[in-house]
Symmetry: C2
Subunit: 246 residues, 2 copies
DNA sequence: ATCTCTCCGTTCGGTAGCGCACACGAGAGT
DNA sequence: ACTCTCGTGTGCGCTACCGAACGGAGAGAT
């Protein structure tokens, strides 16, 4: 099973990132010379808690998790970003760093942009600024919904939410992900994920095998998920540009 | 006990809001004609989920909770804002609305600014824009920390966090707040708050009586709170201007 | 083929928080 | 003084999730 290795030789365009694709032509052309293509392997730490961030990252096929790790080692995912957005908002928001980590959750590719370039173009105020701010608001919605979901919903529901959010940012239905890692992101025990995933598998919604999940029946996942998923999706659709190319 | 009624006759200055106070003189003067003073009584809904927001609010003595209410009526506080910030970031972020509510949690005063005025000054890009964006990032930190805290920490710890966050935005040590309302904000049962507050009272950290809480021993509250409080406070101190006037 | 490591399934006792029900007393209103 | 309501204390069974431990099976290495 060659899940994604074969794609490595393909040619990637920055326009596979929806934010970059949505820029007006002149804004896009101004950035292109500075966009550095980048392989983003599973587990790559895009930035660390409190560390200086030299780049803003625009995933194209990769998916990045924003994780918070507590002093005792417990962790929780705050939000997830794929080709609809970017990683490193604190650079243009003015704070330079944040107290969280960003880790590649699904291997793929992306582009990055030096901090100084982003700040310069952001501060000149055009379409880029508006796009980035709208994305930031969408991200805020995802974060708040995560907070609420953590408080009120069961592991079963949260697993569905997590699967759907990931699926939306993935091409295909196969994800490379162990239950252990999902547990880290949801901030629950691995056994809890085993149990929840076991139910989904028993009911034929997913198939599971040693670090590979295949979603078999997305509509029924959407039946089981809590309202949080739909709220986030609606806000992303409302705030961010539709896919136009390819 | 006249908790705050007598202050109603006092004269308030916009500079009691730290964001407004931090504006350079010319930026401040440009806004002053548009600032509308406003009484903010307990329970006032500053904006509703998904509703059009006509104003941005700058609390001076009031405290506002950002609440999310689920379809089944369950709720959770996402963040809290006092005179260090403003309410209504979606207006300048570009989304116009958000899927959450903002409710006055502690009565007081503030100023508001028409949406069009904020947007105009924000888009011209000066000190106001930078201030608002830095505040937004601080707010994001609070939201993410709330998400993590919801996941991993006990009601006891969360109550301490909530008390301290509120205390930081309050003049004095008395807050007008029932256990029922605290439960709504923490997203837990009222009985859970009763129990947690009972321990704090038994240990002499707070004194409690029918809708009035007095904090007696703040240092010991800080000993009991989880790390989340300190993380948020540190980010607010780092990102936002210090108090300069009065 | 065997070894080893990673990943997944399962069990079991312990506990925090839930939902519900009820009791009590302080204030406010009349 | 009387009631009525609101805010608070308490008890009880229940469930979801935790912490720890162990067993087993797939996949790659030698």
């Amino acid at each position: 099973m060659a899940f994604m290795a074969k794609a490595a030789a393909a040619v990637y365009s920055p326009k596979e990132n929806r934010l970059l694709a949505a820029l007006p032509e002149e804004g896009y052309e101004a950035l292109v010379p500075f966009l550095e293509p980048l392989a983003m392997p599973l587990g790559l730490s895009v930035y660390e808690s409190g560390g200086a961030q030299g780049y803003v990252y625009f995933p194209t096929t990769a998916i990045v998790s924003l994780l918070y790790v507590l002093a005792d080692g417990a962790s929780a995912e705050i939000a997830v970003t794929g080709n609809e957005g970017l990683v490193g908002i604190s650079l243009f928001m003015g704070g330079e760093t944040t107290p969280s980590r960003a880790v590649v959750q699904s291997a793929g590719h992306g582009f990055r942009l030096k901090a100084a370039v982003v700040k310069q173009h952001f501060d000149s105020g055009g379409a880029l600024q508006h796009l980035l701010l709208r994305f930031t608001q969408a991200l805020i919605t995802q974060m708040t919904q995560t907070a609420v979901c953590n408080r009120h919903h069961s592991v079963d529901q949260q697993l569905c939410r997590w699967l759907l959010l990931t699926l939306d940012r993935l091409q295909g239905n196969d994800l490379v992900m162990t239950q252990e890692l999902i547990a880290n992101m949801l901030g629950v025990r691995r056994e809890g994920v085993t149990e929840a995933a076991g139910k989904l598998q028993a009911d034929g919604l997913i198939s599971y095998s040693r670090g590979h999940i295949t979603v078999l029946d997305r509509p029924r996942l959407e039946e089981r998920v809590c309202e949080c998923y739909a709220v986030v999706k609606r806000e992303y659709d409302r705030l961010l540009p539709e896919v136009v190319n390819h």
